[in-house]
């Protein structure tokens, strides 16, 4: 079954104070689909003044919203989840059109996972409690969590609706108002969602502004009228946002990518069974979402005594990947998100070859026919080399994986940790000791053990090292969006005795 490009209006507005409004200076930018480079619609090219409007609306709404009951907030979050679920197919189609990822993924992963995150945070705030401690017979310490106020959120283009759904629910559940800026490559699903949920929250609680990083993102991140910035992206922008936040002494949370190792110990090939089949798929998950995932398992480490046999199976599975029209439900790998991403990926494959990496499969762009010839496609690619090569150290953000061998556990751990980043890792083994000891030795925030690319709400996700800090998808994220109020209460009738 194949879908086709959805219909869009000619242009869209910013969602500020519960209404769609045109940008103040009347300027728009054209947003295109990476599937065939065709025009989707025009979106506001917002400037500082538009950001101010949104920030002011959020500030005006924060007092009342921060004082709503948890029942009320949970009910509204659940309402959003229901609306996303009711419009699953429409949102999936828009997401595929805007990002280039296959409809199979948006229908089965992006949108259902988004629903799950809204429901999770609706549930969390009904179940969690503050605390009270009796410090001595007459002194009680009460801990009450209070919202920060207004949150600025800047999200990337690789999972537009899902990243929105990682960011908005915990901030709103904690009682904050939000100004969110989607990536300029993918403004569509956030806009469609705002159309669907326009009346759910009081005006000003959720605001979405579009525009370019230097013109709209920077004024948002540096606004003295916000109380925190949450960012997912890359390291240089992360550093800049932290700098701007430091001027306002604002907290930040950062998710900045990785170069995740996916480690296969020899016991995976002890049997030719369902688990081996799962492990082979686990290696091929480098091509999931065209490799445009911050946790892309982009380094495969295979124990040397199974290397040839294992890689033969991985290459065969990679060969079987269907790369075609993203609107076709049979398609497994779609388009890269933009022309510059495609060029960047090709330049990495080139330097990889120069450094001596061997192309085991792929290694070039993928030419599709008809309108798709104008889109940005890269063949799933496996490069064999060693960990000092740049392709093993930098996030390529494409369906490109680098594979190398290791001798023993010590060498596997050494290679796995020889990276600037520490976001994700995978460990595959049938050995009960390795199942615990290897993940503990890896310096990364999420280690998938005998699985990969699973992102349920309720499992904290975030980075070590240059991959950032903060833990999303879990109730602990709520504390990144809250203050701690301590009420220290004395029940003693007598004075201290100093004066």
């Amino acid at each position: 079954m194949a879908y086709s490009k959805p219909n869009f209006k000619e242009k869209y507005g910013n969602f500020i104070n519960g209404k769609f409004v045109a940008p103040i200076n009347g300027q728009y930018f054209e947003n295109t689909s990476p599937i065939d480079n065709s025009l989707i619609a025009k979106y506001p090219r917002s400037q500082k003044e538009d950001v101010e409007l949104a920030v002011d609306a959020a500030n005006a709404a924060k007092e009342a919203w921060g004082n709503t009951s948890v029942v009320e907030r949970a009910t509204l979050l659940n309402k959003v989840a229901d609306i996303i679920e009711e419009n699953l197919e429409e949102l999936a189609l828009v997401e595929t059109c805007d990002n280039g990822k296959p409809i199979r993924e948006t229908l089965a992963a992006d949108v259902p996972l988004a629903v799950d995150h809204w429901r999770y945070f609706a549930a969390v705030i009904r179940a969690e409690e503050g605390s009270a401690t009796e410090i001595d017979a007459n002194t009680v310490s009460l801990i009450i969590k209070e919202p920060l106020g207004v949150i600025g959120q800047i999200i990337p283009w690789n999972f537009p609706l899902l990243m929105l759904s990682w960011k908005l629910p915990p901030a709103l559940a904690a009682g904050n108002c939000v100004v969110l800026k989607p990536a300029e490559q993918t403004p569509s699903s956030a806009t469609l969602l705002m159309e669907k949920i326009a009346d759910v929250f009081p005006p000003g609680v959720v605001n979405v502004i579009h525009g370019f990083g230097p013109e709209a993102g920077k004024p948002l991140a540096s606004s003295p009228k916000i109380d925190k910035v949450a960012f997912t992206g890359e390291t240089t922008t992360g550093q800049l946002i932290m700098q701007y936040a430091s001027k306002n002494l604002n907290p930040v949370s950062m998710e900045l990518g990785g170069k995740s190792p996916n480690i296969f110990f020899n016991s995976v090939m002890d049997e030719d069974d369902a688990f081996l089949d799962k492990a082979i798929e686990g290696a091929v998950l480098f091509a999931f979402n065209q490799g445009e995932v911050c946790t892309c398992p982009s380094r495969i480490l295979v124990q040397e005594d199974i290397y040839d046999k294992f890689m033969e199976r991985v290459i065969a599975r990679t060969e079987a990947i269907v790369q075609d029209d993203p609107y076709d439900v049979k398609t497994m790998v779609g388009a890269q998100a933009s022309n510059d991403q495609q060029e960047k990926i090709l330049s990495y494959i080139k330097i990889g070859k120069e450094e001596g990496a061997k192309v085991l499969i792929g290694g070039a762009s993928c030419k599709l026919s008809g309108d798709l010839a104008n889109g940005y496609y890269i063949q799933p690619t496996i490069l064999e080399g060693h960990n000092n090569m740049r392709i093993f150290q930098e996030e390529i953000f494409g369906p490109v994986v680098c594979v190398t061998k290791f001798k023993d556990e010590a060498e596997a751990i050494e290679i796995a940790n020889d990276t600037l980043y520490g976001l994700g890792a995978g460990v595959w083994t049938r050995d009960a000791h390795q199942l615990y000891q290897i993940p503990r030795a890896i310096k990364a925030g999420r280690v998938w053990v005998n699985c990969y690319h699973v992102y349920p709400a309720h499992a904290p996700f975030g980075g070590y090292k240059k991959s950032g800090f903060g833990r999303e998808n879990h109730l602990m994220m709520m504390n990144h969006y809250r203050q701690t109020k301590n009420m220290l209460i004395s029940y003693d009738k007598n004075k201290l005795g100093f004066f």
Binding site: R45, P156, W157, N158, A183, E184, Q185, F212, G213, P214, E215, G217, K218, T232, G233, E234, T235, T236, T237, G238, Q239, L240, Q243, E255, L256, G257, G258, E292, C294, S338, N339, D340, Q341, E343, K344, S347, Y348, K350, I351, E354, E355, N388, R390, Q393, E394, E395, I396, F397, L420, Y421, K466, S467
Partner: protein
């Protein structure tokens, strides 16, 4: 003969000149990580806090090109050429509103270059 770690294409120079006219003095900083990472970014001088951990790789059209020290350790055996392409990044890099993105093409340093530079 001059040995350099970084170079720039003529069409990229044109964009750098255009941006200098609008924004004044500029710097390049090589990003790492997710999404729009692994790409050069251009900012107004003074916007980004730089210190000893930022290595100066060279100067292109009067614009200093920096990279963080620990990233440099993995990159120092390669030569970088800054180019420009159509595209839409989502960082704070100043060329983005033009519908353009700076990108880099890399090659290995020659043995002679390696000897002099590293």
């Amino acid at each position: 003969m001059k040995f350099e770690r970084v170079a720039i294409t003529d069409r990229a120079i044109e964009i750098v000149r255009q941006l200098k006219e609008k924004h004044g003095d500029l710097i390049f900083h090589q990003s790492g990580g997710c999404c729009d990472g692994s790409a050069p970014m251009i900012f107004e001088e003074g916007d980004m806090y730089l210190d000893d951990s930022d290595i100066l790789l060279g100067q292109l059209e009067g614009v200093n090109y920096y990279m963080n020290q620990d990233q440099f350790e993995y990159w120092k055996h390669t030569h970088l050429t800054v180019d420009i392409t159509e595209g839409r990044g989502s960082s704070f890099s100043l060329e983005i509103p033009l519908g353009l993105r700076f990108i880099i093409h890399s090659r290995l340093l020659t043995d002679k270059e390696n000897e002099i530079l590293n």
